[in-house]
């Protein structure tokens, strides 16, 4: 069995806003394995994003432990988390979060400029099938293209893990498939450990491993014996 990249135990996250307490996570345990594509499925509000943010060092758990390889993330300082994100993690979000005033190539440069051994922005964009759209601004790109720029930006620094929060959530099936293909392509070429959040069950076929979420916990896990190609998925 492959080595565990993330090991999280008993993760709890409580949001407090005034007198209301929201339990986003209630003791979740999870292991993600090196080189695998994992899909996290579950209804809206079940804590998927919260877990992913904690794994990616954007947020800290209220209780529980989380390790990335030999890094203890649980009590890391803001400075350590910044370094961790900079060196190891790539993010892709539902709303692409491109910088509107920068072109596709420049959006990717944003990352390559601060990474230690990045690929060329052009290389990353070619990998996601956008080698011909280098100098377009986000406003000149379609939703799927924007998301692929976001993926290129996330993987250009050759991260150890790629964390995607509903990457196809804002896209229709045909365009969404192109994005999934890009993710699959990255996983195959670079061997990047990838986690994809979705509430779209048809996507689970492309994963090595699937986690089902419910009410702040992981309710079940299964391994796909055979994986489906993204091009065969539709919704």
């Amino acid at each position: 069995m492959a080595e565990a990249v993330f090991t999280a135990r008993g993760l709890t996250k409580v949001y407090r806003s005034g007198e209301v307490e929201v339990h986003a996570l209630r003791g979740a345990d999870i292991d993600l394995y090196s080189g695998e594509v994992s899909v996290m499925l579950g209804p809206s509000g079940s804590g998927k994003s919260t877990l992913l943010n904690i794994l990616g060092g954007l947020d800290r758990p209220t209780a529980g432990t989380v390790r990335f390889r030999d890094h203890e993330l649980t009590n890391a300082s803001e400075r350590e988390l910044t370094r961790y994100r900079r060196e190891h993690v790539g993010f892709v979000f539902q709303f692409y979060n491109l910088i509107p005033s920068l072109t596709a190539r420049e959006n990717v440069s944003l990352v390559t400029e601060i990474a230690t051994a990045p690929m060329k922005p052009e290389e990353a964009l070619t990998l996601v099938g956008l080698g011909h759209r280098l100098d377009h601004f986000p406003s000149q790109l379609s939703g799927g293209e924007q998301q692929r720029v976001a993926i290129a930006r996330a993987i250009a620094k050759r991260p150890d893990v790629l964390l995607c929060d509903e990457p196809t959530g804002a896209l229709d099936s045909k365009i969404g498939v192109l994005v999934l293909e890009a993710l699959d392509q990255v996983n195959q070429t670079l061997g990047t450990t990838t986690a994809i959040i979705t509430h779209n069950a048809s996507i689970q076929g492309m994963a090595h491993r699937v986690f089902n979420f419910g009410d702040g916990r992981i309710t079940s896990t299964h391994v796909n014996e055979t994986r489906v190609k993204p091009s065969e998925i539709s919704w």
Partner: protein, 787 residues
Amino acid sequence: MKALDRKLLRDMKRLWAQSLAVAFVMAAGVATMLIGLGAYNSLSETRAAYYERSQFADVFAFAVRAPKSVSAEIRQIAGVGQVETRIVRPALLDIEGFDLPATGYFTSLPASGESSLNKLHLRSGRLPEPGSLREVAVSESFANAHKFKIGSRFGAILNGAKRRLTITAIVLSAEYIYALGPGDMMPDDRRFGIVWMREPALAAAFNLEGAFNNVSLRLLKGASAADVLQSLDRILQRYGGEGAYGREDQLSHAFLDAELQQLSAMSRIMPPVFLVVSAFLINMVLSRLISLEREQIGLFKAIGYSPASIAFHYAKLVLLISAMGVAIGFAAGTWLSYGLTLLYTKFFHFPYRIFVVSPRLYAIAGLVSVTAALIGSMRSVANAAALSPAIAMQAPAPPVYRRFWSGRIQPLNHVSQLTIMVLRHIFRWPLRSLLTTLGIAFSVALLVSSLFTVGSITYMIDVTFDRADRQDSTFTFGEARPAQALQEVARLPGVLSAEPFRIVVVNLSNGHYTKRVAISGKPAAMDLSRVLDLELRPVSLPKSGLALGDTLAAKLHLKRGDIVHVEILGRNRLEADVPVIDIIQSYIGLMAFMDIHALSQLLGESPSISGVHMLLDPAQSDRFFSKVKEQPTLAAMALQRISLAKFQETIAENINIQIAVYVGLASIIAFGVVYNSARIQFAERARELASLRVLGFTQFEVSRLLLLEFALLTLAAMPIGWALGYGLALALVEGFQSDLYRLPFIMLRSTYAYSALIVMAAVAVSALVVRRRANNLDLVSVLKTRD
């Protein structure tokens, strides 16, 4: 270039109009600093250099007649470096083609060579030949006013004898950088000139052979001026000394000092206003930008940019805007300082350029402005750096609005929903609404503090010329004459009434407060030149006691009923204690009045007069003037009505410039504040406004939403601006006050009204510029995009 820097430049391009509006406010601060301090430095440095080069004296004194041998005695005074004795006497001039009598200050040059103190700066020609009786050098402004060239001639009545003089030199003198004629309020170069002649010629003319009546000294470094003044007074008292005085009482020097004081007051009061407003604006623009870019900031953090690098990114934007402001400010400041310098050359006669460009001043002005901007940006930049990456990734929650008065009272039934939206919006962002209001208030304040001078000057003129000094003309004799001299003057053609006065130079003291002033003796039945009390009622002077101007009384810490010690200079030290019988209104100079007979008694002399005030019949003025030019005893003549006209003309010119500048500056502030605030609002509420349009509200109704908010904020700003302006004006009046003059503090209601109207116009223009955007709102694209 780094991708982040590219984003910066593109942000800047997108925000150019707003950035420029901020930059202009900042530029106004930089410019006022450069103008105020720059002119201050230029003027004071040029003056110092000129004084040094021309050996301008430190101490001056007049006497009636002192033998030349006394000069050796003066040289012995401890601390005295150089001594020069001269003959200086005023005399009437008769200039062909110029009907009015002019006054010349006749000043002696040594028998040969040039003076050792107060050296002349030769503009053209050569100094009069030694031994020449008719050759003269004249001051440049006087020569220019009459288009005199080398070789031109004019007449003068020297001690009763008419003489034709030939100009051999046109010169400048450090003693007359500001050349104000006797009794004038503004320099009038046609009616006042300085004339230099060889000493033997003047000595012969004024019966002063082997004697002098004026001495100037240059002190050694570290000498005590006060001690030298005392010793000099002691020596000269036997010769009718009128009291020695230092540079601070030398007229030209004192006027330059007053100007310097005004400049420094201006540069202390004005630039901070602009700096504060530009810090406001930076804060407003940046916090908006940062709330708009929350997600981008979150992303930077998510991909590993440190808080410090994000803070620096936004600080750079501030630096860019500041750089723009400073650059514009440098350009405008340099240009305006240059303009001011040109204006100065009209009043102040320097031999060389007085425009000094000091790199240090520029560096300071730039640094101060950038620092103010950075301080203004601190809060927003810190917020940006502190944004948590996870929170930044979520869209901001819709802002929480509140119902008024907790919704308990509903007095607004008849008010439309749109109006309620406006009110809620104002109170939803109280800080921004407050800053906008304060910004507009500053603009109003600036105008109030400038426009009030119109009212104050009008009032001062009214009090001085229509109520106090109502004479048309004043004669001054060469020396005091018996009281019967009044009749000679009254008999001149066209003199409707004549009123004598007596001038005596004294030292007034109260404890350790002391001041050298002239007491004016006036007749009991004064009607032309009157003395007014603080309520502007004419005062009649009792048979004894002094009436003091309020400025002088304040300086000496005296009030009505106190006793003041009077020391009469040049009279063998006559001293007396005299009661202060009244405190009276004074705007120009330090005033002290006494009954003319009481003054004669104090002096122990038979009644005598120094000059006569007159009311003239305009129909006979030609005959009057031509007769005057033949009067042997007259030395100087003031023409108050002509002087007033000149004064008003000059003031009007200067005030128009001043008002234009201030209206410009105030508009820059109003526009900067309102434009930025409106743009931000508009961007924030584009979705809301578009939704309203989709719901069927008209363009007018929608833009009214924005305009109404600014109308309300502008209204709220008025009283604040008036109050701030009142304070600023008061500070300026205090800062401008000098021994020479004082502006009354008169705040007319129309000043408030004009200030308000001008600012409202500026606000309306800026709001309308933004309204055009509201009208061109692209509904589909606004609603399609995610917030």
